[in-house]
Structures are given as structure tokens and as C-alpha cells.
Symmetry: C2
Subunit: 396 residues, 2 copies
């Protein structure tokens, strides 16, 4: 008898992957340019030119025994020093190199963090809509994921619902802002309110609860007035799971870090737990070439103006056609109200117009579809008539 | 309350790391050239020239959106196709691209495999001496690691002891050949005997037992007559965990694969379990640049003649000085009988001569030290007088 949990996980494709596979087949049938595939969150903008030039420099000029050698499990010291300095200068924190732990991307950051924090039977809270793999990661660590609803107008967490979801078993709260799939950025007011509620809960129960921020989309905000609050400035027991997948368009290279707030009382224990969990999960170190790379290009991003343009075109057109869209702050997702109650049926209807949209059910909310606009602008322009016809079909 | 298992794991350094850290301090005190550090299994030979040229070619000539983009969770199809073809041509197997799953190196291959196979309470058998992290990986997957002794002369597994260690709870058997730390290659006779015993046990109990081969050292054998048997030719329920860390001197880049024997009855279930376990542990895909690289350089190795020379020098000299060494078939380790019963005390004594040797206790056997000879040949030559004096100190 194999491990049936993992066998099942391996057999069931996510709804997003299913749609993507359908898209591949459909493109083969009717031509690439006639299918409007908004299914995947896969950066369409190339890595910045500096990524290429720095990779060339590192490979041609470094000692290969150093460049491709093991780093310590936490990551190369000079890399962690440079990245913690960067965080400090941007957010006023006082992290040291030893507050950071380099990882193979955001998913690894989350699984390592959860395995450090969680004991079997604990609960992890997140806010719907949420990235579906949070359930998988929590379950493997031994915890139950508890989804708390958001405000149906703003998609900010529902604070009253959060308060009642907290229990004796709550060990951690995961937030994801800019959010996949809603594109919403949690405001400073929201983050402060979450922190206040957590502190009150801690005082009442005597239990430590950790705030974990999943931040692959931090750099992807398009309006100067939009600030993504840094949770360490609001809550001591905070852990940031960062990834360069989207900011540098390097999703396949798996590079990111965990930053543990060194102002929490039990910092040493938490950091040790992260080192131990990394070891137990088989993460020996993050890929060294890409550790050196992110040190060299820290602060650069791919040309995210493309995403801003895509957002503006889509958002303007869809509103004009009569769709209701959630105010799009960042990431590269647009969350659109389905034109009938059942989002799955609406997504099916959209497929008749060759529009591939992900129904919101797998993100833990009903009645929406997610549009990933990390695609060619030209495809968006070709898709607009289809969106118009889809809307019209509901009016007749 | 954090997860105390992982907190403890993160706090306790392995014996090998402890010794390495001591060595760093000692070098600062008395000079790099006066410390003979044989602690780490970190390749000292640079990656082959083709690694540099192929990395330069890939980075300069590929579309960055493809090169750094997500691959499927199993790995890029063309990479898996090329590597499975290579395995087939060398070992007469009939693997397909879909028998392989690309991983972030051997540790990831093992944790993913164990999490696919194991249910809580199962047992995993291995043979002492063994790589200490096997305990950590098995424990995280929910299994108890059962260490079976080896023949004290040949360090081949003790077949009778293996037979009695098998139980109703046995789910998997891990072998590691060429072996860390003994350097021994398990003979075709050994592997066939293990397979026969397993088949008999399966028949008796009705339970499936998987043979898992941890193969980071497969290419590191130095005598033409030494063959490392391919387990798929001996046993249907077999899984190979391969890594390029040592063969290509890329330990920090984390690239390897799991090959599942597609001739086992429940192949589809096992492969699905591996996909699911990879997902649950947070492995989204193996680093894409290095996936493309190993496809391009498959069959190449670093200049392992350096290791052969090191082995021959050390082995000859140590035997001459009166040490008893285990016949060194491969890897880059020499397993040497301690000159007193207590290997820890012997290693301490060796430190007086600035020789850093790892006592065998943490590998699950007593009375030996491990010498990692993946070091500069010049350091070995400088160390020989110290080895001679150490031996002499036991004669007086």
C-alpha cells in the first residue's frame, strides 16, 4: 500500500492545469492565434537583460568549484547579507544575514515554514480567495487549512470572520498580497487590524500565532499610490516567504528566501525549526548560481510595464462591456464576476468563445473567474471581441 | 509550541559539519596549509569545460521565457527523453521519458520517493555504514530506519541479517553504491541476492517492498573491472535516485532525477505518488537551466582521474604505515580502521596531528574513520607525514 494521499495528489491535476492542457489541445485544432488562453500565471515578459549579462559574467569569470559548490544550508552568507540589507533599506527592518534562509522558491519557502511551525492537529488560517496549494502544503505539515471569507466588495479579509475563526489550535495565518487570484493588495489598515486581532488572541490564549506573508507578487504593483505593507512593521511573529519567480521572470529556476523577523522573542527557535524542516524535506541548499545571480541583480525587475498595459486594456474594455471587475491593484490577475451564479458554467460558456478563464471555486470562493494577464498584449486585443460577445450572450 | 522535531534537527549540526567548522577555525589559527581537512564530501575537481560552454550557449542563445520558465512538475519532456534514452543505452532498460522525474538532487529524490512509498509506521531498511540523513528523511516520511550490518571484511550487506530484519512493516530498502562512507561497490552477486530475498519475502507476506538505489557516486569508479549493477536489471520494484552533484561537480546546483522502473506492475501508482509527494514537499520543478544543461552534457563527467590518483596515493601510503583500509572501489571516500576501539577517540587523536577525519559512529558502525579524498592532491601529500606519525604514536 503506497501513500494514498500522495498518490491521489499526483493523479488529480489542478483545475488550472486541466484548463491549460485543454488549451494546448484546442490550439492544435483551431490554431494558436484563435484560442485566448488566460489560464496560467506564467510570466510572459522575459527576465531583465541584467539577468543574462550577470549569468554570463558569473559563469565565465567565477571559479566553478565555488560557483557550483554547496553553500551552507541557509544559503551563501554574502547573498543573505546583501538581500537582508536590501530589505532593511526598503522597509526599515533590522534583519541580519542570519535572519534569511535561501530557498527553491515560494512553494519551498511555504512548505519549510509550515513544517517548522506546525504540529499535527494545528490549524492554519488563510483568506479566500487563496492559492489552492496552501491546502496541500498545510496538510503535509499536519495542519488543517481554515479559509476565512473576504469582504465581497473589496476582497480585503473579513475581520469579524477572522476573529471567530481563530481557535486554540491556530498556529499560523497565511496572507498573500498582491493576491492570487484577486489581484488585491491588503491595505496597511487591514494588516494592522490582523496584527491587532492576533495580539489580542495571543494574550487571551497564551498561544503564539505566526503571520506568514507569501510574497511572489510584491514587486508587481502598477500605481505609485499602492503600497504593499511589510508585515514585520506590524507584527513581531512574522515570516516573509519571498520569491524571484515573477519579479525577475525566473519561475523555472526556483529561487527565493524566507525572512524571519528577528524581533520576535523566540527567533532562534523559529530559525532553527526552518533549518531543520529544510533538512527533513530534502532541501540541501538553494541553487548556488541563482543565489549569486539574485545578489547581483537585487532591486531589478522584469519590464512589468507590460502587465500594467495589459491590465489597463482588459480592465477598461471589460468594464465597458458590462463586466464587474475587482479593483486590480497588482499581481497579474484580474478577478471578474461571472455573469451567472455558477462560475464553472460561466467558464464553460466562455470556452465556446475560445476564452480560457479559471473558475474561482478552486480558490475557495464562488461566482468569479480569474484572468491571468501575463500574456502577449496582442492576444488580449484579439480576445476583446470574444469577451464582448460573451457578455452580449447573457443579455439576449 | 513549534515543531520540536524540526527545531532539534536545525540546532544539531551533523558530526561532519561540526568537524568542518572546527577545521575552518583551526585554519584561521595555524594557516590553511597546515590543516589536513578530510571532512566534507564536496567535489574538489571543477565541473567539466563543457558545463561552462553549454551554460554560456544556453544563456546567450535561448529564449529566456523558455529557458527560465516553469517546466512540468516532472521536468521538461525533452530532458527526460534524452536522459531515459541514455539510461536505456547503458543498462538495457526500456524506460520512457515518463519513467523519469527531475529533482533538485539526490536528497530531494530520496525524500520524494520515501514520501510516495511510506505510510506512518512503516520501516525502511538500509545497510550500515550509511549516509546519516537517511534517518532524517525516513522519519519525516513517517518510517523508522532499520540499519542492517554489513560483512566486516568486505562491507557488502550481511544477507542473513537482512533476511531477519525484513518484517511485515518493511516498505523499502535503500542501497547506496558506491557507498558513502565505505567506498565499496555492491557486487552483482549482492544485488541479485538482495533481490531474491526480497521476492521471497514478498511471496511469503504478500507485501510489496521497493528497492531504492541512491546513486550520486555511480560514475565515480576508477577500475575498469568494477561494474556498478543497475538494480532495474535485478528487481522489478526498483527506483533509482540519481544526482549530477558529484559526476559533474555541481553539488550546489541541485539537479538529479528519480527513475521508476516501468516494468513493475503498479508503475502508474508509484509514479503518481512521486508526483504527489513532490507537490506536497513544495518542489514545483527542478531548476530549468540545469535541466537543459544535463541534457546537453549527459555522459560527460568532471575529471575523476584526480580522485583515482588521490585514492591510490592515500591507499598505498596508509597501508604502508600499517593502517587497514576497506578495499576502495569508488566514490571519493576511504574507510580506514581506527587504531583504537573508539573511533571518536581516534579521530580526536588524529586532530592532534591536524588530521580531520570523520569517526564512523554517525554512519552507524563503530571503529572506523572516513577520509574524504575529494581534495587537492598536494594536501594529501602534505598530510602523509601526519598519518605516519599518528600510526607511530600507537606503536610506542
Amino acid at each position: 500500500m503506497l501513500n494514498q494521499t500522495n498518490v491521489k495528489l499526483g493523479k488529480v491535476r489542478s483545475a488550472i492545469r486541466e484548463l491549460f492542457e485543454y488549451g494546448k489541445k484546442r490550439k492544435a485544432e483551431i490554431g494558436e492565434e484563435n484560442v485566448f488562453d488566460f489560464s496560467l500565471g506564467n510570466p510572459s515578459v522575459p527576465a531583465p537583460e541584467e539577468v543574462k549579462s550577470e549569468l554570463m559574467r558569473l559563469v565565465s569569470q567565477s571559479d566553478p568549484v565555488f560557483l557550483h559548490g554547496y553553500t551552507s544550508a541557509q544559503g551563501d552568507y554574502s547573498v543573505r547579507k546583501a538581500l537582508s540589507d536590501s530589505v532593511n533599506s526598503r522597509f526599515g527592518t533590522r534583519l541580519t544575514a542570519d535572519s534569511l534562509y535561501m530557498t527553491c522558491g515560494a512553494a519551498a519557502s511555504l512548505t519549510i515554514t509550515l513544517n517548522a511551525l506546525v504540529n499535527v492537529g494545528d490549524e492554519v488560517i488563510t483568506f479566500a480567495p487563496f492559492f489552492p496549494e496552501y491546502s496541500v502544503f498545510s496538510a503535509h505539515a499536519g495542519a488543517k487549512l481554515v479559509a476565512v471569507k473576504s469582504d465581497p466588495l473589496t476582497f480585503q479579509p473579513d475581520l469579524a470572520a477572522f476573529q471567530s475563526a481563530l481557535s486554540e489550535k491556530t498556529k499560523a495565518v497565511i496572507i498573500n498580497s498582491p493576491n492570487n487570484p484577486s489581484g488585491v493588495v491588503y491595505s496597511a489598515h487591514t494588516v494592522q487590524a490582523l496584527a491587532d486581532i492576533l495580539r489580542e488572541h495571543e494574550k487571551k490564549t497564551g498561544n503564539a500565532v505566526y503571520l506568514v506573508s507569501d510574497e511572489p507578487y510584491r514587486e508587481l504593483v502598477f500605481d505609485d499610490c499602492t503600497q504593499v505593507p511589510y508585515i514585520m512593521n506590524h507584527y513581531a511573529r512574522s515570516i516573509v516567504c519571498y520569491s524571484y519567480s515573477k519579479s525577475l521572470s525566473l519561475p523555472g529556476e526556483r529561487i527565493g528566501y524566507i525572512a524571519v523577523n528577528n524581533e520576535m522573542e523566540e527567533f532562534g527557535e523559529v530559525y532553527a525549526g526552518i533549518c531543520g524542516a529544510g533538512r527533513a524535506l530534502g532541501y540541501v541548499c538553494a541553487p548556488n548560481l541563482f543565489q549569486q545571480l539574485v545578489k547581483a541583480v537585487e532591486g531589478r525587475t522584469a519590464d512589468i510595464s507590460v502587465y500594467k498595459r495589459n491590465r489597463d486594456i482588459l480592465c477598461g474594455a471589460l468594464t465597458e462591456y458590462g463586466y464587474t471587475v475587482v479593483k486590480p491593484d497588482g499581481a497579474f490577475y484580474l478577478f471578474v464576476r461571472a455573469l451567472e451564479d455558477d462560475a464553472e458554467k460561466f467558464a464553460e460558456k466562455a470556452r465556446e468563445y475560445e476564452l480560457l478563464l479559471v473558475p474561482s471555486n478552486s480558490f475557495g470562493v464562488k461566482g468569479y473567474v480569474r484572468i491571468s494577464y501575463c500574456v502577449d498584449t496582442a492576444m488580449i486585443e484579439r480576445a476583446l471581441p470574444a469577451f464582448r460577445k460573451l457578455a452580449a450572450s447573457y443579455k439576449s
